[in-house]
Amino acid sequence: MVQRAAHALRRLRLPPEGPPGPSRAAFWRSPLRGPWLTTTLGLLLLPLVIVVAVTGFVSHAAYQPDLGANAIVDRAHDLQLLIFGWPSRPTWLYAANQGVHVTVGFVAIPLLLAKLWSVIPRLFAWPPLRSPAQALERLSLLGLVGGAAFQFATGVVNAQLYYPFHFNFVVAHYYGAWVFLAALAVHLVVKLPVMRRAYREHGAWRPLRDDLARTRAEAYEPGGLASPRPAAPTMSRRGLLAMVGGAAGALAVVTAGQSIGGPLRRLAVLAPRGGALGPGPNDFPINKTAAAARVTPALVDASWRLQVQGARTLALSRADLLALRQTSAELPIACVEGWSTTQRWSGVRLADLAALAGVPAARMLHVASVQPRGVLRRATLGHAQIHDDEALLALRVNGADLSLDHGYPARIIVPALPGVHCTKWVGTLEFL
């Protein structure tokens, strides 16, 4: 069958040259394109992609999809072998993971664009299908380029609260990663010999020593990346890499501050949660306002009671909670979208509430918000989260009552826990 298909392909007798235009090698004039440049861009991009992929899978684990109804991606089909009990230490674990995931993802974009620019002649290669092997390779490149575009584009718009699609972002971004990484793995296997040859011929560093006057095109080979009639260079290879690095650096400057905080926050002028903070105790970023969650003041007025369930059931008013032993802790709240901020929270330790409910060795805690509907209004916490000394049902922040937008009358704040699992406007705590 395969043999017959291959014969049929050969019998097609395509003209040896493609139609005039991009399918002809001479259409492409850049003197910088070639195996060395593409190899170098690929090797610069690869570690960034690995970092983004690893932090992405770690974030998936941080949601503790094995507990309660935490899983957003169906746990039976999520392909992820490594799910572990999410720790509560170090406190900055999730903030760092997400800051790295989002910032490195943004910073990788100029490198990805340059890499795609360097190989664009191959998209129009003639003949379009030479052999079954090449046909498979082209199909895998569709997964690679389409998958990369999908992952970076959905990640970037999601971090900016722009959702021009109907799919669930978490589900699509998660499975998109598998498509992209599968195609990337096979691409690396196929291209490793090409990369080794490029570095053997040119050395890893030698082309970087060439200034503009000494910049020469790489040798043309039919079916390769270099041009058969290169134009005079207008930029050296190191100049091109510096320009790409400059764009990556600019993205880092306007983005990273929303995760790192401190004086850098002011520099994050394009990031959605960047810029200077106000002076008040509650003037730090919010993931979701009370209005967006349809939490009205009436839902959390003086008649609000916290339902605590365990071996016994209690209903506690805010005054009751304030009368219990108060603990305060300096903890970050970190969003999956990458931003985070560290504040001084105070309230009742979850372990104290577990003891009060008669389950001092509780292994699980279901938290539900009074938020009437919408996603992530409930979360399940594990053993590490309940028993950390700084895991709190917070009532106050920076010496003031929580504002309604920050979860008044009470919210969860637990070290290293994803922000969306630090439920606001808590209505029920069920210890198991």
């Binding site: 392909l79 575009a149 998109g176 600019a250 394009l270 919010i286 993931n287």
Partner: protein, 154 residues
């Protein structure tokens, strides 16, 4: 083995690696398409690749060609335009939802604040990049001229 290579075009390992990758990708795609908005997933994957390859790359290549023609022979001017344009362009490409205020309602509902004027901020950054590049160019031209004068009168 030689016959396999002639018919298939590469080694059996090549085929095996591709089949494994396709199996994983097909499984993940099936899962992604099982949820809501399946049509959008397909549209986004295909449109992403097409927009990049057939719109973005030709557009910036044409712009670069125009800039090259306009500064013909004066390579240094070209790069003093090219570098700030590329950096500002990448910032716009990545941050266009905020810069072009695509979802101000979402920002207000999520953050509790009216969105900042990201468009103005981007314009200021762009102006600063071009200004810095122009200053650098002026400095380099002056230094070259001074060097040439020194060489003429040792």
């Amino acid at each position: 083995m030689r016959r396999w290579r002639r018919v298939y075009g590469s080694s059996p390992l090549h085929l095996a690696a591709h089949l494994v990758a396709f199996a994983v990708a097909a499984y993940a795609l099936r899962q992604a398409l099982g949820g809501r908005g399946a049509r959008d997933v397909v549209v986004w994957i295909v449109a992403g690749a097409l927009l990049h390859d057939l719109v973005l790359v030709p557009a910036y290549s044409a712009a670069d060609r125009l800039a090259s023609l306009a500064t013909r022979g004066r390579v240094r001017v070209l790069n003093h335009v090219r570098v700030p344009a590329v950096i500002a362009g990448v910032l716009l490409l990545v941050y266009f939802p905020l810069i072009l205020a695509r979802a101000p309602g979402n920002v207000q509902r999520a953050t509790g604040h009216r969105p900042a004027d990201y468009g103005l901020r981007w314009l200021i950054i762009t102006a600063a990049l071009f200004a810095a590049s122009a200053l650098l160019y002026a400095a380099r031209v002056t230094a070259t001229a001074a060097g040439a004068r020194r060489r003429r009168r040792p």
